[in-house]
């Protein structure tokens, strides 16, 4: 990763965030919290709740990508590695106002982690003890990443490996690259 590309992406992220209308993170956290509580009522089993959150996130991701490409100024992306950097430097900043970092690449370079210390979704949240070790409260984000990447032909699997709500020192989402789909649709942000 050249540092000039990294700084270009940082700037794109800052610019996209600066340009967008904002809402209070408190309102988002409050809304997300109420939503998760309802999903817990419906599914009860933490594993099922995690799955449902991921699915809902996927449905956001497949729609959000268009908005992302149109507003971020990103027009192409050649590899999984680049995508991971763009997600953490541009997308996290643009949508959530936070910057994440990419690390923990494996030797095959098909798996890495997105790490972020601040999580606007989880502000003021305390998990009930019975969920502390089983619920991934922000699992929606995994689905968003998977859905968005799928729309640009990159198939991945994502999962939380660290979550501050569980007492971890940071938040970490692991992304594993599966495959690149063949029919390359050109990225187009002019529509």
């Amino acid at each position: 990763m050249s540092s000039s590309r990294a700084s270009t992406w940082n700037k794109l992220g800052d610019a996209a965030y600066a340009k967008s209308e904002k809402v209070s993170a408190d309102l988002v956290a409050l809304t997300y919290g109420s939503f998760v509580r309802e999903i817990i009522k419906d599914f009860e089993e933490p594993d099922q709740v995690n799955k449902e959150l991921e699915k809902l996130g996927y449905n956001i991701g497949i729609r959000l990508i268009e908005d992302f490409l149109a507003k971020s100024g990103i027009s192409n992306c050649s590899s999984f590695e680049e995508s991971a950097e763009i997600i953490s430097r541009v997308a996290f900043k643009m949508f959530l106002g936070i910057r994440a970092t990419v690390s923990n690449w494996n030797s095959e370079h098909n798996s890495c982690s997105i790490i972020f210390d601040e999580n606007p979704l989880a502000e003021y949240v305390e998990l009930p003890p019975e969920y502390t070790h089983s619920l991934f409260y922000s699992n929606l984000l995994c689905g968003v990443i998977r859905g968005a990447l799928e729309m640009v032909q990159i198939i991945v699997e994502c999962e939380f490996v660290k979550d501050q709500l569980r007492g971890d020192d940071t938040n970490e989402i692991n992304i594993r690259f599966k495959e690149m789909l063949q029919e390359q649709v050109p990225w187009n942000d002019e529509e």
């Binding site: 809304t31 309802e38 999903i39 809902l56």
Partner: protein, 168 residues
């Protein structure tokens, strides 16, 4: 107060509508008002909005001096609350001085995106259920029990009629 892009909130609300009411395809098949189980879903989504509205208003009004009149409370909702929730203030406020307030918003946030999508026109009402809940919750938080109706027939403009149930 930290902030996130409004799109994040829009996407979140969009999947909440899908989650509680079913996705577009399913919703097209049943008219919301006819079907009892759908009506329960609508009520549930509205109830979640109310709960959020109540707590959100409490947060927003922290440190605000006590409201001396009913009109002060309504004005707080039309301005501070509306800006914090929907990014602009109400364009016009009318009252009959008998507990009915009519709030007009010419570009109501929750309808901006949907009203641009021709497919979604029939679903406009689905997208004001949650915000109606939030608004109702906000009024309740100020001790004003009320019914709130939204007319979105000329979206993205929306006219809210608030009928107070009892004078404070």
């Amino acid at each position: 107060m930290t902030e996130v892009a409004e799109e994040s909130f829009d996407f979140l609300v969009m999947i909440m509508v899908d989650y509680f009411l079913g996705n577009d395809e399913k919703r097209k098949k049943v008219s919301l008002k006819d079907d009892l189980s759908t009506r329960r879903k609508v009520e549930r989504l509205e109830a979640i909005g109310r709960d959020i509205g109540r707590r959100w208003l409490e947060k927003l009004s922290e440190g605000t001096p006590h409201f001396s009149t009913e009109l002060d409370k309504v004005k707080f909702i039309c301005k501070e609350f509306w800006i914090a929730t929907f990014q602009k203030q109400i364009d016009n406020l009318k009252t009959n001085n008998k507990g009915t307030y009519v709030l007009s918003d010419k570009r109501f946030r929750s309808l901006l995106h949907v009203s641009e999508t021709p497919d979604a026109i029939g679903q406009l009402e689905d997208y004001i259920i949650f915000p109606l809940g939030i608004i109702k919750g906000a009024f309740e938080s100020l001790g004003m029990n009320c019914e709130v109706y939204g007319d979105c027939s000329s979206a993205p403009s929306c006219i809210f009629t608030v009928n107070l149930k009892e004078q404070e």
